[in-house]
């Protein structure tokens, strides 16, 4: 999607702030959202991230007015819009299924919102042409949407939403119907377009990487609650709970009993690990601690952060788990080993060819460890 400047480009849409205050919502008897509060700054791109059933889509639909809220308020630029119908909120939504109207052409789909606003015909044509141009759909305006490819339909859906110059852009898993290769590029295109237009955007996704790449801020939901809000680096490097750590990819779990001493964490030697004395606190390369972490803890780490060491060697500021290679494969460029550590198995990549059954150590740099007190 080429980005263009000049008089044909739709004018920058001034983003506005959006505030969700103590919102709860239900489907029948089932509470789906519990006391959700969230403030989104003008022009900010926020991703609502969570597994299916966590309430992220319901929150988006509450914001758009399709799901009534039981309690709480929704404010747009400081104005209470909680009880406004969906057609009076000046928000535009891009649906997961695109929801394009098959009996209309691409241009008619994009221009529909303008037609509803009684934009004069000449002006409407010019704006639709500018939108087609902006989205790289030149020459496709007269095609029926059923004759367009998945990626092109996705752009028409985006164009239809942006054409009315909404104050808020709502994206409900808009990339999940695209194949993986196209999805990679469309992510960046949407993000670039949002920045160019300066519009406030709320994006629902269950794809961690998609949220990381696109959003300024990520809101993680679980069972109808917000469990963490932060910049991509923050939720990735400092997940606030074991659930978030696992959701953000740190899904290898080991239980230890640790001690705090001199600003460090001591993990005593045990059957399957060597003793480690790791830096903690606000220094770079420190272990991420949640809770007092003096006693039993749950340690989470990502498989890709681990390395293999042979013999008794212990890299500095690292924890080493001891085990044996139980399986080996070659996905290309490196070997992937399944390491049996006690009753657990961890997958670790390493460039060296090693034989099955060899005793090895899994080295975990302090910065890759997240410790949680129960």
């Amino acid at each position: 999607m080429p980005q263009r400047d000049g008089e044909n480009t739709p004018s920058a849409m001034t983003g506005v702030s959006l505030e969700v205050r103590g919102v709860s919502a239900s489907y029948g008897e089932v509470r789906v959202l519990q006391d959700i509060s969230l403030t989104i700054a003008p022009g900010e791109f926020v991703a609502l991230l969570g597994s299916s059933g966590c309430g992220k889509t319901t929150l988006l639909r509450s914001i758009s007015g399709f799901v009534p809220v039981d309690d709480g308020q929704i404010l747009l630029a400081g104005q209470d819009i909680t009880n406004r119908p969906p057609d009076k909120r000046n928000m535009a939504m891009v649906f997961q299924s695109y929801a394009l109207w098959p009996h209309m052409t691409a241009a008619q789909n994009i221009g529909y919102g303008l037609r509803l606003r009684r934009v004069p015909q000449a002006d409407l044509k010019r704006r639709v042409a500018a939108m087609l141009d902006l989205l790289g759909l030149e020459g496709l305006g007269e095609r029926k949407v059923t004759q367009l490819s998945g990626g092109q339909r996705q752009r028409v859906a985006l164009g239809r939403a942006l054409a009315i110059e909404p104050q808020i852009l709502l994206l409900d898993e808009p990339l999940s119907n695209l194949d993986a290769r196209i999805r990679q590029t469309v992510r960046h295109e949407i993000k670039a377009l949002q920045e160019q237009l300066g519009i406030t955007a709320v994006h629902v996704t269950h794809d961690r990487e998609e949220a990381m790449v696109m959003a300024d801020r990520i809101v993680i939901l679980d069972a109808g609650h917000i469990v963490q809000v932060g910049a991509p680096e923050e939720v990735y490097n400092r997940p606030a709970s074991p659930f978030i750590a696992a959701f953000m990819g740190a899904d290898n779990v080991v239980d230890f009993t640790v001690e705090r001493a001199n600003g460090r964490v001591r993990i005593p030697a045990a059957e399957h690990n060597d003793e480690a004395f790791l830096p903690a606190g606000d220094v770079s390369g420190a272990v991420h601690l949640v809770g007092d972490c003096n006693g039993p803890v749950q340690a989470h780490f990502r498989g890709e952060a681990a390395g293999l060491v042979s013999g008794e060697e212990i890299p500095p500021d690292s924890l080493v788990l001891r085990g044996r290679i139980s399986q080996s494969s070659y996905p290309g460029g490196f070997y992937r080993y399944a390491i049996q550590v006690g009753a657990q198995q961890f997958m670790v990549d390493d460039p060296r060819p090693l034989s099955v059954g060899a005793a090895v150590g899994i080295s975990l740099p302090a910065a890759s460890l997240h410790l949680y007190s129960p």
Binding site: S64, F66, P85, P86, D87, K88, M91, A92, M93, F95, Q96, S97, A99, L100, W101, P102, H103, Y112, G113, L116, R117, R160, I164
Partner: protein, 283 residues
Amino acid sequence: MISTATRNRERLLGLLLVSPALLTVGLLFVYPLGFSLVTAFTGEEGLWTTANFFKAFEFYSNDILFTVVIVVLSTILIGLGAIAIGGYLTLGEHPVAVAILKWLYRWPLFIPFIVAGQLMRTFLAKNGLMNNIFVSTGLLDPLQTTSFLDWRGIVITFVWKQTPFVALLVAGAMASLDRSMIEAARNLGARRFRILAEIIVPQVQPTIVIGLILSFVVMMSVLSVPMMINAQTPTMLTVDMAFRINAYGDYGVANALGFISYLMTGVVAWVYLRQGVRAGGAP
């Protein structure tokens, strides 16, 4: 290579398999239709003639026009009613009202035409239930009441009886549309009426057309309703056909009138098929 004998045997077997269906269609449809067509063009002496058609037009051209007007008007009203019911069931926001409508609207489907005719006679007469309600609520003076037992009664009965059938088909088609298409229009600022007219109806149009054509054909063939509700001239062709046969044993003119009815439904079917071909899809 397959020998000619084997191929012939396979052909015979295929013909045997299809013969029950072919016989049924032939005996119960093609033969009576052909016979009635032949009778329409046969005079009393058994010679070919177009006299039956001349007679039919001479005596019944008003009734032909009356039939066309009644059935076309009813079809239009049925279409509007079905779209309104389907639209409310799809877009209605009051769950109780939607549930009541869903429960109520199908009832006339289960009532035979002859019972509907009888029911409307007591409802639409000068001293019928409808006028009684108007009088008792003070809307009308007893002297102002008129009987609706004329062409209006036929239209009302047809619409009452056939709207649920088309609404059933149309509401089903509307319900199977992707809900987010409706939400997308709502989200862009469209009111419900516009969503119905611009988003929903164009997409279920083939279903509406099928339902209306089936209704058109059914109404063309109903005898009891015009006979019970409209005991005067002009009347519908079905009544004339029954009269020619019962009063005069005149199968020639009756069949000519039948052929004319058949042409009317044929025109509707042709328009529909042509539209299907133009749209490039299956009809």
